[in-house]
Amino acid sequence: MATTVKRKPKAASAAVTEIDRDTRLRLYQLQLELRYCEKRAYDLFLQNLIKGTSHLALGQEAIAAAFGVAMRPDDWTFCTYRGHAHTQARGASMEGVLGELMGRVCGLLKGKGGSMHLTDVEKGAMGSYAIVGAHLPIAVGAALSAQYRGTKQVAVCFFGDGTTNIGAFHEALNLAVVWKLPVVFVCENNLYMEYTPISAVTAVEHPAADRASAYGLESIIVDGNDADEVYRVAQAALARARDGDGPSLIEAKTYRHSGHSRADPAKYRPPGELEKWLERDPLKIYRERLVKLGVSRQVLDDMEAEAMRQVDAATETAKASPPPPLELIDRDVWADGGSSWRN
């Protein structure tokens, strides 16, 4: 699948620029880390060490990884409940992620938020939002802050195909364009909202790209399983935002290998669909490309082993971490650290 673009001169769409070897290795490394860590999360469910819900992005790693590599350290990420990868891709620690899923005090949120709200402000991971659409306007606000303060920071906002049908999507896109804000909207079209195919509930074929013109934006579709393609589009959109040319809306075509959430066996998929997409697994694609580009198998094997080692270490740390102390219940409602509503 090639990147397709319609209309408008100053495009956020990808120029065919070269990506150097180091960048490529970082892209692979990051995809490995995201993949292995989420696979571990899956194992931890099965061991009943993760309670509540959890939403894996297995198969969608190329997008988070490409942006993670392309973004400046002081840029901001806003993502969803399916945000483990996006948060980690900004540098949040694996034990912070796994610990939060397991409800341990070493978790990014000390267990207070849970899997759907991963946040690491120091790393620019400005939060995972669990109500569909809410974070799009919030990302717009961060972009307003960057514009106002002249910092050239960019807010990147990830969301799913299903999110394009909620009102907040529309309001956020319009305001971002009206104020020409440095924000990049990334729709990860994985074909399904929860269990319902996006095509069954959407008036257009490409839920994001076919709406871009409603905000005077160009229509950008990228192969979300190809980290290089996403990286190029990301660089262009980030540059456009930094140059003061306003927002972009990118639709990345992808697929989640597992169900919507922990509870979902994904029986609604037509037979053969998953298999077809597994052929296009972003890690598989990327490994093959690196091999073709002359990276030795040994280097790749080492990278894989290293990622696994990190995940193992993080798992041990998280498992050893205690549950959060009960006094945290009354902490941090307010900026003074407390929760008191009376004198």
Binding site: T53, G103, K112, G113, G114, I166, A168, T196, P324, L328
Partner: protein
């Protein structure tokens, strides 16, 4: 009598009403093909077909608006809002449109609909998927508000809600989905606005709702067994209309009132009922009215934290015991 889970009682209640009345249609996110994310609506698409049972986009305003428009023009829709927290994205349609339009039009418009939702905590879903927001609805004139605690009540109150010509917000409690209970055979129809005395006692009256009902019952047993305190437990079931007769009557009998609610501390339904008592049966009270609530914090996710935040059997026992002591 059949034994049904609270979960299955939901689809049973809806199916009972859809069989009876062609005007009843049902829609929401992932409710048809998939049978709902909580599996509360399994089988409805198969039985009633895609004209009557529909999947929607993630568009809560459109869902609620569509239910309202359809109700105004001859249908009796049931719409699902997947988690009650999401009422916040469509509250205008609920609180400003559905609740007020009949009144504003001097009765020209009738809006017979049911908005069902999964309410409440206890399942580690975190602060945006665990709220108890029945108090948001109770605060809005023009909405009826129901929250069943048992399988039989799910069916019976669902039927009453569907048959009501007024808009009803129907709060199903996530924590109860797996609970089993007897449901009367044949058509089962209950009545809105009737509280139930689920335990009779002499010393104190505990007023509870939804998941807090079984917890209050367990607490009452422990209070009796371990502390010699005999407590009445009232299942409010319906916040609007409110069965003040039963509630105040039971309070007057024991002279002590406790409310047990999942709402955060401020402005929950417990405050409302406590204030009614403080005004209307003040002279029957032998001591302070005590509310047992979630503290005024968003709900934390980790098991230990969540369990210590929502009122527990132990906290109910402890609070009643200390206040009576």
């Amino acid at each position: 009598m059949a034994e049904l889970t609270y979960r299955d009682a939901v689809s049973a209640g809806i199916a009972q009403e859809m069989r009876r009345d062609e005007r009843v249609v049902f829609f929401g996110e992932d409710v048809a093909e998939a049978g709902g994310v909580f599996k509360t609506t399994v089988g409805l698409l198969e039985e009633f077909g895609p004209k009557r049972v529909r999947d929607t986009p993630i568009s809560e305003q459109a869902i609620i608006g569509a239910a309202m428009g359809a109700a105004m023009t001859g249908l009796r829709p049931i719409a699902e809002i997947m988690f009650s927290d999401f009422f916040a994205v469509c509250w205008d349609l609920v609180a400003n449109q559905i609740a007020k339009t009949r009144y504003m039009t001097a009765g020209q418009v009738t809006i017979p609909l049911v908005l069902r939702t999964a309410n409440g905590g206890g399942v580690r879903f975190g602060a945006q998927h665990s709220q108890s927001v029945e108090n948001w609805a109770m605060a809005i004139p023009g909405l009826k508000v129901v929250a069943p605690s048992s399988s039989a009540d799910v069916v019976g109150l669902m039927a009453a809600a569907v048959r009501s010509d007024d808009p009803v917000l129907f709060f199903e409690h996530k924590f109860l989905f797996g609970n089993k209970g007897e449901v009367p055979d044949g058509e089962h129809v209950d009545e809105l606005g009737v509280a139930k005395v689920v335990r009779e006692g002499k010393d104190a009256t505990i007023i509870a709702l939804a998941a807090m009902v079984p917890r209050s019952l367990a607490a009452a047993q422990e209070l009796e067994a371990d502390h010699g305190i005999s407590a009445t437990v009232v299942d409010v079931r319906s916040l609007v209309p409110l069965d003040t007769r039963t509630i105040l009557g039971e309070v007057a009998k024991t002279g002590r009132m406790f409310t047990v609610e999942e709402n955060p501390r401020l402005c929950g339904w417990g405050a409302e009922i406590a204030s009614i008592a403080a005004e209307e049966c003040f002279y029957d009270l032998d001591g302070p009215i005590v509310r047992i609530t979630t503290p005024h914090v968003p709900l934390p996710a980790a098991d230990a934290l969540e369990d210590a935040t929502i009122p527990s059997v132990a906290r109910i026992v402890e609070t009643v015991r200390t206040s009576m002591g």
